[in-house]
Every structure is written in C-alpha cells, then in structure tokens.
Amino acid sequence: MNHLLELVGVQKSLGHRSVLNGADLTIDAGEIVWMVGRNGSGKTTLIKVAAGMSTPGKGTVLWFGNRPSSRLRSRIGVLLDESFLYGELTAEENLLYYAKIYGLKDARKQVHDGLEQVRLHRDKHVLVKAFSKGMKQRLAIARTFLHQPEVLFLDEPYDGLDAASSQLLTFWLENLQKAGAGILLVSHEANAFRELPVRTVKLAQGRLIEGDSQ
C-alpha cells in the first residue's frame, strides 16, 4: 500500500534563507508524527510545502502515492497559525461555507455537530472577528476536521486552548488515529498529548531526523 504522505528531498528557500534542505518524511495510516524543532527551524514551512500550499524548490511531495491534485485536496486537512476563517461571517456561516465547498452531504447537521464538539454552539451567530483567541482556534479546529480528512497537518493546535479544549483535542486525535488517519503534529507542548503513541521526528538544519525528541 502507498504511504499517506511522502516527502523526498524537499528543499525550500524563503528570501535568502534556505529553510528546508533535503527533508524526507513518510506518514502511514494510523500514525501520529510529532515534529519538534527550535523556533525558526522551518516546521511551519515544511507543513506548508507538504500540504501543497507552497511549492518546493526541489524534491517531491506525494499524497496517497500521487502528486498533489485538486481531487486529492479534499482528503487532507490543514491547521496553521492563521485560522482561514472570514472575520465578517459568523462561526456557523464559516463552517457552512467550507461544508459547501467540500460538498458535504448533510452540511447543516455536520456543521451543527462540529460546533457542538468544540463547544461553540452558543456562539454560532457571533461574527468570528469578535472571537477570543481560543474561540477562534477552536473554530479553526472544527473547520479542519469538518470534511473528515485522511491526512492532517496540525501546526501548534494546542495554542490558545483552555484546559478542557486541550483534553478534547487529544481525545479526538486518538480517535482519528484509531480510524486510520495520518497526522503530522507540530507542538511545543508535549504534556498535552503525552498519552498518545507518537513517532517523533526532529527538524534541524533543514533536515528531518527520526526518533530524536529534544
């Protein structure tokens, strides 16, 4: 079977800095890969390249064994520091928009469930620009999980979440993993998911090193 995600020799420069320098990575079904690395080592950059939001200078990115394509895009989910939400729409409208784009059946029901899961159902008619940091982060999580992606890229998903939400997130990640999703998780906050079985990789000098945790 194919890997869910495969990066081979990925190289990427930003400005005059060569940030990634031949990074290799594979993720298989049911795997959570925890990527660590110092601030500025290129974790976010790697996620952007792997998720097809940015083109690698050299090297290849494969999703489910194929080159990224528009068809495959609906099977991956990305959560970055930016929430990808419209400030002028309410929480519910934002999710509905994404549900429609992804062509979900039962859009309303799914959106309703999503909001309830992140405990935002009471604020669903509030404009997102009036959300607090953690509320926005929770809505962004709901957005990422909405179309049940098989590969997930999560860049510091625990940021801004209160204790209860953190636990919930860990619980979901566990379920997703059991359901066979592949997850690339970047987080400085090891405590939040210490019960999860993760494979650790470390990003340093533009390359990924297996197994090294700190």
Partner: protein, 234 residues
C-alpha cells in the same frame, strides 16, 4: 570567463566603435531634420532591444512554467530588467528628438502612449518579483505576468496603423523607406545593441548564480553557528 567569451566581448567592443563612426560620420544628415536624425540609430536600436528583451522574458517565462528550471526564470528576470533600461532610453531619446522636431517633449500619440505603458508594465514586473519572498512563487507569478504584459509589444508596433498618430513609421512590410547607407547603419546598430544585450544578460545571470551560491554558503555558516550555540547552551 573563457577565452572564446573574451574574444566575443572584444569583437563587440570593436563593433561599437565602428557603429559610432557610422552614426556620426559615415551616414548623411537627413533632408528635413538635418543632423538630428542621428538620434534614430540610438532610438530605434534601443526599441529593438527592449522589444527583444521583453519577448525573451515572455518566452522563457513559459518555458519555466513547463520545465521549472531555475535558470530559465533568472534569464527571464534579467532580460526584463535590461528591457526596462532600454525602454527608458527609447523614451528619453524620443523626447529629445521630439523637442527638436515636434517642438514638444511629449504628446499623446498612440506609439508614445503605448511605449510609456510598456515601461510601467515592466517596472511593475520588477516590483512584483522583488516583493514576493517565496522564490518559486515569485518565479511562477512573474512568468504569467510577463506573458500577459508582452501583449503590449504587438500593440505598440501596430499602433501606427490602427490609430493615426504623428510618430513616423518607416519600417514597413515593403522595406525601409530611406537611403541604403542609413539602412545599413541602422541595421548595424541593431546588431551591436543586440550583442551588448546578450553580454549583459549573460553576465547578470552568472552573477545571480553566484549570489545564490553565496547565500547557500551563508546558510551553511548559519547552521554551523546554530550547532555551536546548541552545544554551548546545553
């Protein structure tokens, strides 16, 4: 540089001197304009280089989109930069010439207007590239933009026939409407100008390559320092 490259550059130098001689001494003054006509050799040759340069940008941009090879993109970029410089020359020499024969620096003749547009279009090209941090994205965006902007070149060339303006049109499908010696001088200056363009294109691209290697080296040094920090820190 290699020996044959030096030889070519030397030949170009000699060509430039000959070209100057023909412009200012060998070719005759014109019946109505007198000596002012000598601006033509500079003016028109600059226009030819500018058009060529932008054409090359458009073409190499498309090649880059298909091949994704860094070198095509760099050549396209440098070519556009040279093109802007030569368009500036066209505008300046034209204005000087215009002041002499039309008694005005500027008028809204279609050829002039579209040439000014060309200048703005490629100034924007340079700014666009410079303001995108992601190298691959900058290259792709510039390729697409360079292709679209090049549409202005045929428009300029056709402007004389589409709109009636006062800018002269002596090079037509029927040939050159001027004495053979002038035609020869003009063609020779085309040759020299295009030669100069090629040399600048080549050297600038080499420089870009060097700059790239330099930033790779700098990155190596950075990484080494980071490793050192880590060791000292812990």
């Amino acid at each position: 540089m290699k020996k044959w490259q030096w030889t070519l550059v030397a030949l170009l130098g000699i060509g430039m001197i000959i070209s100057q001689y023909m412009d200012f001494i060998a070719s005759p003054p014109e019946a109505q304009m007198g000596n002012v006509v000598r601006i033509m050799y500079f003016h028109v040759a600059s226009a030819v280089v500018a058009f060529t340069a932008f054409g090359v940008t458009a073409l190499l941009g498309l090649i880059y989109l298909v091949r994704k090879k860094w070198i095509w993109d760099q050549l396209a970029r440098v070519s556009a930069e040279i093109g802007v410089v030569y368009t500036t020359f066209v505008l300046i020499s034209g204005s000087i010439w215009g002041d002499a024969v039309w008694n005005t620096w500027w008028t809204w003749d279609p050829t002039l207007t579209t040439t000014l547009i060309l200048w703005f279009l490629y100034l924007a090209y340079i700014l666009l590239r410079a303001s995108i941090a992601d190298r691959e994205r900058a290259a792709k965006v510039a390729s697409v933009y360079g292709f679209i902007a090049a549409i202005d070149i045929p428009i300029i060339h056709q402007s004389v026939t589409w709109w009636r303006g006062i800018h002269p049109n002596v090079i037509t499908a029927q040939g050159f409407n001027m004495p053979p010696i002038m035609v020869f001088t003009l063609l020779f200056s085309f040759l020299v100008f295009l030669g100069l363009y090629s040399v600048i294109l080549w050297i600038s691209t080499m420089m870009a390559k060097d700059r790239d290697e330099l930033s790779d080296l700098r990155e190596l040094a950075r990484n080494a320092l980071a490793k050192y920090d880590e060791r000292v820190g812990s």
